[in-house]
């Protein structure tokens, strides 16, 4: 046991030693529990504890907390210590309060009272203790109580320097909690003038405070600019002996320098030419110093020096007015790119990204292209490689795009998985932005798919299709290239999608060549069919019907395929339907009709690429820019986000089973008009899965039965004379997406329409729900949709509620519904054998692991209906494993983002059971059920049981 400093608490040291000597986790927990019991009894005991004992126990509690255990008592004793007249006891009290912040209101007042007393102490050590506590907790109440005293303490002439330092940062903390506390008026100038304080520590602390104040109110504090510049100037011109202990490894006041440079980045370059000249001098001096030989070999010296340098470069980039400084900064960073310190290379790449976006230094950055490419390939640390990729992206322009894109493509083959997806997006953006020759663009994207197909998101391949459709000069080339790419023995499914789509549209352009005759094209595509997901298959079926139009000579061949898939051999309803409808179309429609229906896709409206938005979403707050002043003319054939997805979705089908959480939910009400028949026909297909507002849902009139939706995901949630609310939901793991369809059944518009989802208190923190806003007006007969995303964090008992309000014919309406988002939606069905099932069943026999209910049947016992409900509930129905064939058993796993919870279920019907309501009642017979749910988590067993009880 090492020596204990200060006044030493022997008991504490012994306890810590005991814990360290524990051989196992169990032993440690046992020892801790023993100690907790001991402390609890001491605190509760009759004998009053003296200060020392209290301090010791409070300290032990702190230690236990630091080991990762929860502490739920001792706060009162800690608060008692605050008013001790012994400093060491007071200090431990404050430490406990600061570490285990507890906002119990009865204690807050006591704490604040103690702090108040200590703030008024004549001993600066006590004052600081109180200030530190305020800064550590920084609650709103504290801001209210101490908001007046602390500014006084900060600017008063009598306050000692050490107290001023703490007061400045304490005030900063309270300001962050509640912005109103800073007094204005004369205080402003007094606070700004702290920049002139004699004491470097005071200036350092005050600069942090001023930086925050400036951010809120730049005009009021702009007086700080000239003071900051002159302070900075004094530091950078100081010799390292001038500042004594504020010189850090031969660097004068690096912390203060960095703070001042940061402060100045809140403002544009100073207007006053004198101040401006002085600032530029400072920046030049800092750049000059970087070239001087180091005064020490220690890494601390170079770190501190470079910290100031990097901050100066940030300021130079921020000002963006001094070409000379920008180029010098760039050269300096260029030197760092080959420094042996990984940290410096990392930061240099990061700063250069910013320099690349300035018109003055963009070319200077480009000079380092080769080194940056090497960094991307050779760096040992993936975070540095990532920075290199970002920089290449930022420095790319039309002169070097081909080379950079090629290098990125080469690197993609071996790139780390963690950065591939982002790289794919970057390559796709650059290729599109700087393409002068679209054959190059097509090559790049197909290469992307070939090299990193798994990382090519929908947006990327949608985009290449749009561009090909919009540019007729590239269509023949695209058809030829995809045809060649598809010949590879193993090609990525995304390649099949792009290939299928492009050949369906433009296969005729290469059909003249015997090697790519219609029949060859068809066979090539169809050879991939069986390896593809349903969504791709659906797309291929559309390609085939397009072939029927383009190449009448292979019509019979294609009809054969449609026939095969239109019957039960295709398990997917969507595919079946497509195949039969296409088959009929090919048989019945005349050639002219076919040609009209299956005409080439119309040109996509020109909008900005959606890929950029995806990249931004991936990296909120830190997207490297690729915007260099020359404004590029927009590439023809751009489309915005949803427009594009809708268009793409229309032709490729967004099959729900493959695109559960993708963006391409099929539009509920297809807008007719652009391609006439085709859209309408396909429109039917797409909406077939979603509720039809005016379909035969008579039974649902005025109906609302939320329980029904426990066992199903789609259908009409609510309907009355005014409105029909349909729901369609998809779940994957712990994520879910619910699309709500609001159909206006009246002949006037619904006004002030709003639909809000609220999470009940029982679900807060356990289930995250987010819903999109809906248009405030729903036109007569129209349908609008709303997306609600849910994430299950923990299991939860209830379901969110949905409040729909609107005005119809001047009458306000309000509907309160339950959103079909119960915890069972996150079930994954689990297949298991009888042995496994009953083994687990037995393992989960504890009382807290099971929940059981016996209830009367509410409807006649119908095995098929029960089966449908159980399957719809989300668990796997396990047939033939229960010894009693009448019983139903199920297994499933609830996915939450925190854990996966296994769950087993057994439902035992008991027809015509004897039921007795009371002692004197004569027995009657009725259908009964016994439902038993077992789960590794009690709350899940209970919830699942409750959810199912009303269902049968």
């Amino acid at each position: 046991m090492p020596a204990v400093r200060g006044d030493g608490m022997r008991g504490l040291a012994v306890f810590i030693s005991d814990i360290r000597n524990c051989k196992s986790k169990e032993a440690e927990i046992k020892r801790i529990n023993k100690e907790l019991a001991n402390i609890r009894s001491k605190f509760k005991g009759d004998k009053t504890l003296d200060g020392y004992q209290k301090k010791k126990y409070v300290c032990k509690l702190l230690f236990i907390f630091l080991l990762g255990h929860d502490i739920d008592f001792g706060h009162m004793e800690a608060v008692n210590l605050l008013s001790s007249n012994k400093y060491s006891e007071k200090q431990i009290g404050y430490l406990f309060i600061s570490v285990l912040v507890n906002t119990r209101s009865d204690l807050i007042n006591l704490i604040n009272q103690s702090i108040k007393n200590d703030l008024q102490s004549r001993n600066p050590i006590h004052v600081n203790l109180a200030l530190q506590c305020i800064a550590n907790i920084g609650s709103k109440e504290m801001a209210e109580v101490f908001g007046h005293d602390i500014p006084k303490l900060l600017v008063s002439g009598d306050t000692m320097d050490v107290v001023k330092q703490s007061a400045a940062l304490c005030l900063l903390r309270l300001f962050r909690t509640s912005q109103e506390i800073i007094p204005g008026g004369e205080w402003t100038s007094r606070i700004i003038h702290l920049l002139n304080d004699q004491h470097m520590g005071v200036v350092t602390a005050a600069t942090s405070l001023i930086d925050a104040l400036v951010k809120k109110n730049p005009d009021e504090y702009k007086g700080c600019i000239s003071l900051a510049v002159s302070r900075l100037s004094r530091i950078v011109t100081a010799s390292y002996t001038d500042l004594q202990d504020y010189t850090y490894y031969f660097v004068p006041a690096p912390w203060l320098s960095v703070k001042l440079l940061r402060l100045l980045q809140n403002y544009p370059p100073p207007d006053d030419p004198g101040v401006r000249g002085r600032l530029i001098e400072c920046l030049e001096t800092i750049l000059n110093k970087a070239q001087e030989p180091p005064k020490s070999k220690k890494v601390q010296h170079s770190n501190a020096k470079n910290a100031v340098l990097f901050e100066a470069i940030s300021l130079i980039i921020h000002m963006d007015t001094e070409p000379n400084l920008l180029v010098r900064a760039c050269n300096q960073l260029g030197q760092f790119l080959s420094n042996r310190e990984t940290n410096l290379r990392y930061l240099a790449l990061e700063s250069m990204c910013l320099l690349a976006t300035s018109e003055f230094s963009h070319d200077a950055v480009k000079k380092h292209q080769e080194v940056v490419i090497l960094s991307m390939k050779m760096e040992k640390d993936v975070s540095v490689r990532q920075q290199a990729v970002d920089l290449l992206y930022a420095m790319c322009d039309k002169t070097n795009a081909e080379e950079i894109v090629q290098e990125m493509l080469n690197y993609l083959e071996t790139a780390d998985y963690s950065i591939r997806e982002e790289m794919v997006l970057k390559v796709a953006i650059l290729a599109e932005k700087y393409a002068t020759d679209y054959t190059w663009y097509v090559d790049v994207i197909l290469n992307l798919i070939r090299i990193a197909g798994d990382y090519v998101s929908e947006e990327v391949w949608y985009r290449v299709i749009q561009i090909v459709i919009n540019r007729d000069d590239v269509q023949g080339y695209a058809a030829k290239t995809v045809f060649e790419a598809l010949q590879a023995p193993a090609c990525h499914e995304n390649m099949v999608k792009v290939g299928g789509y492009i050949l369906g549209e433009f296969g005729n352009l290469i059909a003249g060549d015997q090697r790519s005759s219609p029949s060859v094209q068809f066979q090539l595509l169809h050879s991939k069919y069986h390896l593809c997901s349903p969504m791709t298959r659906a797309l291929l079926l559309s390609t085939y019907i397009k072939f029927v139009n383009l190449f009448p000579e292979i019509k019979t061949q294609i009809q054969e395929v449609f026939k095969q898939h239109s019957n039960l051999r295709s398990a997917d309803a969507e595919l079946q339907q497509r195949a039969s409808e296409y088959l009929q179309l090919s048989i019945i429609a005349s050639h002219d009709m076919l040609a009209t229906v299956l005409e080439e896709m119309p040109v996509f409206p020109e909008r900005e690429s959606s890929i950029l938005a995806v990249l931004k979403k991936k990296k909120p707050g830190r997207v490297p820019e690729n915007e260099i002043r020359e404004h590029k003319s927009p590439v023809p054939g751009s489309t915005a986000n949803h427009q594009e997805e809708r268009s793409a979705a229309k032709t490729v089908s967004a099959n729900a089973s493959t695109d559960l959480l993708g963006l391409s939910t099929p539009p509920a009400a297809p807008t007719a008009g652009n391609t006439g028949v085709l859209v309408d026909m396909l429109g039917e297909l797409y909406t077939s899965g979603s509720p039809q507002p005016h379909a035969n849902n008579v039974a649902a009139q005025n109906a609302y039965n939320p329980a029904k939706f426990v066992c199903k995901n789609n259908g009409v949630l609510f309907e009355n004379d005014l409105i029909q609310i349909g729901v369609k939901s998809e779940f994957r793991q712990n994520l879910g997406r619910i699309t709500l369809f609001y159909g206006n059944k009246t002949s006037t518009a619904l006004q002030n329409f709003s639909a809000a989802v609220t999470n009940p208190t029982g679900c807060i923190g356990k289930l995250n729900v987010q819903s999109k806003k809906v248009d405030p007006t729903v036109e007569a007969g129209a349908q609008v949709q709303q997306m609600v995303n849910g994430e299950c964090v923990f299991d939860y008992p209830d379901a969110p509620s949905l409040t729909v309000t609107f005005t119809c014919n001047g009458t306000p309406q309000k509907l309160s519904l339950r959103l079909p988002l119960t915890v069972n939606k996150f079930f994954e069905p689990t297949e298991m054998t009888g042995e496994v099932f009953f083994a687990r069943w037995k393992n989960l026999s504890g009382n807290e692991q099971r929940s059981q209910k016996i209830f009367k049947a509410t409807q006649p016992m119908d095995n098929t209906a029960i089966r449908t409900k159980l399957i719809g509930f989300g668990m796997q129905l396990l047939d033939g494993i229960d010894p009693n064939p009448e019983n139903f058993v199920c297994a499933g796993i609830v996915h939450t983002s925190k854990q996966q919870i296994g769950c087993l279920l057994r439902l035992e019907p008991n027809k015509q059971a004897q039921a007795s309501n009371g002692f004197y009642d004569s027995p009657t017979t009725m259908d009964m059920f016994r439902l038993t749910v077992r789960s590794s988590k009690e709350s899940v067993a209970v919830t699942v049981c409750d959810l199912l009880v009303d269902q049968f």
Binding site: V4, R5, V99, W255, N343, L347
Partner: protein, 157 residues
């Protein structure tokens, strides 16, 4: 502004935690777990900086202890490394070639030292001399109290 500082051992045991931003306890535990795992998995020559959520993480290993700070996008990474170094120097000076055990057994001192160096997530006092002076003054108060207590015990006061 620094968001938090964690000290943990090579075995992944948390030795000290200081939070400058209010997080729920559960989140704190999750962050700690994730960061310890991420950092322990990194190789020695790798860069000391990590992009982590919307924060930057700066870490450095001293003997068996890792010091890890999370800072905001605007903050200076290199200087954060030196905040860590200054803290280590202070501990070293105070304990006399500090080791992990000193911090385990005197965790409260490590906290007091930290509060002198950093307050509310910002650097408060960069001068080593001044911090040590403040801590010495605290210790002196304690010693006086201890002497007073001892005298009282033997009836001299």
């Amino acid at each position: 502004m620094m968001q938090f500082m964690l000290l943990f051992s090579r075995q992944g045991k948390l030795r000290l935690q200081k939070w400058y931003q209010a997080y729920p306890d559960k989140t704190k535990k999750k962050i700690t777990r994730e960061l310890i795992a991420t950092i322990l998995a990194r190789k020695p020559k790798m860069c000391s900086f990590l992009e982590w959520k919307d924060l930057k993480v700066v870490y450095k290993r001293y003997a068996s202890l890792y010091f890890c700070c999370a800072i905001e996008q605007d903050d200076n990474e290199l200087l954060t490394l030196e905040v860590i170094h200054r803290y280590v120097e202070l501990l070293d000076k105070y304990f006399g070639s500090v080791c992990e055990l000193d911090i385990i057994f005197n965790f409260e001192k490590a906290y007091f030292m930290c509060d002198e160096l950093l307050l509310g997530g910002e650097i408060q006092e960069t001068s080593k001399k001044n911090v040590l002076k403040a801590i010495a003054a605290q210790d002196l108060l304690q010693e006086d109290e201890a002497v007073e207590g001892a005298l009282r015990e033997i009836g001299l006061l």
